[in-house]
Amino acid sequence: MRKVAPFDDRAEVLRVNAVDKVFPGDVQALKDMSLSVRAGDFISLLGPSGCGKSTALRLIAGLSEPTSGRIEWDEPRKDGDLGVVFQEPTLMPWATVSQNVYLPFRLEGKSYTSVRDDILDALKLVGLDKFQNSYPRELSGGMKMRVSIARAMVTQPKLILMDEPFAALDEITRFKLNNDLLEMQARIGCTVIFVTHSVFESVFLSDRIVVMAARPGRVIEEVRVDAPYPRDEEFRTSAEYAAHCRAASKALEHAMEAA
């Protein structure tokens, strides 16, 4: 297990270097985006819809190519270095929960027996070890999302990308998953880039909030949340949390005005 290093001495894992993305029809989705991602960072990309945050995530995932600029990894990316959670749980409906979590290993060619313990650990971490043999349709929305998270972290990746994973869930479930997510990140010591349009969620989760504006999508400013981890329900009701939310809201307002 990796440990998350203190904020000021983290090694860079990935750099987004002056990236532009133009879609057909001259739609500028991203303009001159630069971002240095360091090991252990929990970065939120916060902004209104159309600000290119999901586009940025797809570029980092290697699902599309920048029109100009580069995405540079400090060392070549291997299979299993990257985990992804989409807005929908994106599970294979024909496979059981454990088979769904097994997928990243299966694609690497590993046998089920050789990784059974990892799968069980991941499911335990999201509290679903009792549902190994269930099919996705038997689970609630929140549980499906947990399976999706277990799948993203089962390979203990360096970087997990999350694209508004909790946007479709109710607030109670969302708070619970926020807590669990932080616990998980501390456990496997990974880096997270988290796309959201919720100020409260981004402040609770991240130590760096990258505020973005729309048309064209671009980075407006970065807000540092220096509250120490672990953060829990107490933090969610603290004055410190409220102050950070105010700061982030103000930054977001700037972003909206700039648009």
Binding site: A61, L82, F86, E88, T90, P93, L103, P104
Partner: protein, 287 residues
Amino acid sequence: MTDAPLTGPMGKPVVDAEEARRARKRKIEATARYLLPVAVMILMIWLWDRIVVWNEIPHFILPGPDRVWGSLTGDWPILWDAALLTGRITLMALVIAVVGGAGLAILFNQSKMVELSLYPYAVILQVTPVVAIAPLIFIYVESKTVGMLLCAWIVAFFPVLSSTTLGLNSVDHNLRDLFRIYGASRWQKLWMLQLPSALPYFLGGLKIAGGLSLIGAVVAELVAGTGGVGTGLAFRIQEAGYRLNIARMFAALAIVAAMGVFIFAALSLLSHMLLRKWHESALKREG
């Protein structure tokens, strides 16, 4: 209705009038599902019998149900042999239609070039009536069995091809992205993602192909005549027609229909078995 105490779901006794009403409705619906079609059939057969008797229709024009039943039991050995032959051709045609249709769908899916070159011909083969092609086939194909299989295949493979193609292309986009991120090979993507996604579509096509391969086999038999392969049901129908043995025509027709129903039921069962754990179509819904 009997006076047995009504029970609600899970065998709990019913408490109030509203529940009793609902329980009764459930029971009636469950019985009606089987009773109604049977009642309609009995009524139709009775009507048929009456029409024949009242109008004194001679049996070489329209035999009554009793005569058809007599033919069905009396000519059973002949009809059974014929049914075996037709059934064999139908099943073999269905198997090659499935292999050919699904195989072509996978091939088309893997290679755009192959799809562009061959798809129009698959469509042409599909839209040309098989009755029109069959005589030509029997000119060039020496073996009657092969000719009949070819006819049945031509009608049956297309639904498998088109529905499997649709299925292979209906993969969830996020899942596709996920496979890409994990560096899945083309083979892994096909095997673990596209084929399972295509399964419900394939099974839908299979159900249609089952009925069509029977039609193809019957048409092929009618065109092929008898030489060499023995005689199937369609040939028996034709032959009985020439002899004005209308009762046997009806008896053979009933067997053909029964075979069609059997194939459909078997394929529906197969489909249910394969999908019941996960697919929406196989789920029981409330209300």
